[in-house]
Subunit: 145 residues, 2 copies
DNA sequence: AAACCAATGCAATAAAGTTGCACCTAACTA
DNA sequence: TAGTTAGGTGCAACTTTATTGCATTGGTTT
């Protein structure tokens, strides 16, 4: 149980919290495990509806904390609500760590396209990049038939 | 006046409305000219604050109509509000027509990087792309000094 | 045990987006 | 031309999402 392998990481959840210098708390454990089970980018509303015994603001602040500690990254897919997904091992949330996402306009799922890294682009003079939000949208494989 | 060259187009605004099969109305004219003057992606709130004699919902519906008629495209830059920018001549709002954007986290301006087209990526089997929202963020040339 | 501090739940609020409806206006019809 | 119609606009209400204040809880430190 304690040594179970979690998500994208070769570490247990407990180890990850230690590495990211974050106290392990009931809400954090539940939210982390929930994200880990789904392996997709999920909205606060979606998480809240499943973890209904937790308060929305607690989940919200937990996600914010996860973002601050680079345990999850956010995706703005145009659906109207922010999606959250677990980072991969070694992710520092720099553009070079990030990847494209795919938003299905039918089932509204948002996927991390882990094997599609953000390309390094040459920006106009004076522009300095620190973040990236790459979203393709259309039909996912489940909805395309 | 009537023959003035507007924005990205080699056509007058009146011509564009005809091409896009859209009636020319007072609000549409003002919103179009406003977007055209700024050559940037702007939020509803921002437009509203300048065109203060127009109603928010009228501007909102006008922008929606412009999007439907492919006169403007939307950008979700993570700022919390949708940005709108004029399309270029010949734009059909397909991914191949679209380009990267840059959101400055300091001045909150969103730029169309017209010379950075969306690359064609190979998606997993079964995924069909229809839209793209590419946003880099950081410091713009004005704020970087 | 007392003090402390972060986490949590609850409730209120802010911010953005959206809609119903009445009125207006300009184009069309008779 | 007068009447009719359809779409555009303004106003106000409302929905959804995001965010914050504050009191309470619960574990850790002194
Ligand atoms: Mn991702
Ligand atoms: Mn653009
Ligand atoms: Zn789908
Ligand atoms: Zn700037």
């Amino acid at each position: 149980m304690e040594k179970q392998i979690y998500g994208f990481y070769n570490y247990s959840m407990t180890d990850i919290f230690k590495i990211k210098e974050l106290a392990s708390t009931p809400v954090r454990v539940l939210v982390y495990e929930y994200l880990n089970e789904h392996q997709k980018a999920l909205s606060l509303k979606y998480i809240e509806s499943d973890l209904y015994d937790l308060d929305r603001s607690s989940i919200f602040r937990t996600l914010k904390t996860f973002v601050d500690h680079k345990i999850v990254h956010t995706i703005h897919d145009g659906s109207g609500s922010v999606k959250y997904a677990l980072c991969q091992e070694g992710c520092n949330c720099d553009p070079s760590d990030l990847h494209f996402h795919f938003y299905c306009t039918t089932c509204e799922a948002t996927y991390c396209l882990l094997d599609l890294p953000v390309p390094s682009v040459s920006l106009p003079t004076g522009f300095v990049i620190s973040q990236a939000n790459m979203v393709l949208s259309g039909l996912c494989n489940n909805c395309n038939s």
